[in-house]
């Protein structure tokens, strides 16, 4: 379980937000809303452990997330940068991605992950030749190739067409049904597939 308590964030001399607190239980999803520049990305980076926290606490299963290897094992963070190498194929990228995360992955699993996001037949093309939406689909495929219970997704469906958004919705739904947790931001309408009972939204204000 993830809990965030009285969190605030400063960038340079500017205060982005303060007093932010929420909890995320198994099988639930938190939809982070807020205007541009209010600090959604910074909040996600703080919760994932990329940005240091000076005021407030973030804990995973009761332990602070700083220097917490157990937490990092359970986390997938997907930000604006897709962490995909242009010169490598989607297949290679996903295998290396799992290896960097410290996990082993079966090639068949990668292929089926790419297939379920509609990239069948493009597994071995260099990422360079794919479209923006296809690149993002390939990057999202790591949700299926890696084992983690907490997904932190910054604008996951941006640049995706309607069928791909639906596919992402199905992926999120399956994850929640298995007891996973999702924390995400989006300016697009929510993927339909997620049952509304498991979604809470949190509005971030400056």
């Amino acid at each position: 379980m993830l809990s965030v308590n009285d969190l605030s964030c400063h960038r340079g001399e500017r205060r982005l937000f303060s007093g932010v607190g929420f909890q995320l239980k198994a099988g639930t999803c938190l939809y982070l809303e807020g205007d541009n520049g209010v600090g959604k990305t910074s909040l996600l980076r703080q919760v994932s452990g990329l940005l240091p926290v000076s005021v407030g606490q973030i804990s995973w299963c009761g332990k602070p997330i700083a220097d917490n290897e157990f937490f990092r094992k359970q986390l997938i963070y997907l930000g604006h940068n897709l962490a995909m190498k242009d010169d490598l194929s989607a297949m290679e990228n996903l295998q290396i991605d799992a290896a960097i995360a410290g996990q082993a992955v079966d090639p068949d699993k990668v292929l089926s992950a790419l297939k379920s996001l509609g990239l069948k037949g493009r597994e071995h093309l260099p990422i360079r030749v794919l479209s923006q939406g296809q690149k993002r689909r390939a990057a999202l495929a790591r949700l299926l190739t890696r084992q983690a219970s907490l997904w932190i997704l910054d604008e996951p469906v941006v640049a995706l067409d309607v069928p791909a958004q639906a596919a992402v919705g199905r992926v999120l739904k399956a994850h929640l049904e298995k007891g996973g947790m999702v924390l995400f931001t989006s300016h697009q309408p929510l993927p339909m597939a997620i049952p509304s009972a498991s979604i809470t939204s949190y509005r971030l204000q400056g």
């Binding site: 990329l50 940005l51 930000g79 940068n81 962490a83 295998q95 290896a99 960097i100 995360a101 410290g102």
Partner: protein, 221 residues
Amino acid sequence: MNPFIAVVRRDVSLALRRKNEVMTSVFFFVVVAALFPLGIGPEMNTLRLIGPGVLWVGALLASMLSLGRMFAGDHDDGTLEQMVLSSASLPSLVGAKILAHWLLSGLPLVVLSPVLALQFDLNLQAIEVLMATLLLGTPLLSLIGAVGAALTLGVRGADVLLSLLVLPLYVPALVFGAGAVQAQTAGLGASAHLSILAAMLLMAAVFSPWACASALRIALE
């Protein structure tokens, strides 16, 4: 796959797909070594004297050429974030990147050095010592340079700054590297120099990945 090996393999295969990056440092090394005799004159005694120093300075600058790109690619496309968030330790992943950098821009120089040493009329023993010092010294250069590359990541004017930060720290490697060959030709034996180089390499191998990891975490803030 072990994360360390995966990162080394990825960096090497990426570089081999774009061969120009590897070729740049090799070409630089060869050209610098060829330019010195043209600037100084063909007097063999002089060339024999300056040979080790020239080859070492050439190797040092050649391995520095590619330092700026060491972390920049991973920083730009977000892979660095994934490395920081990995459950594998960041210093070991950084160590893998440093090893890959050495394999791509240090090892080729070691292999090439005997050919270039012939241009300076170094004898066989001197060439052996030169290769040994470069074998110990170029990984040291990659380890030290990586700290500078990590500190200047995403900073304005990173290239100039990088050379300002890194070159002073290269001094000991240069002194003992070139000094070993000169000591060998002077008949003093190079074993003391080589052991000091090895000691510095060990020390850098322990501290540098750790310092790089801290610098990279700072760079991502």
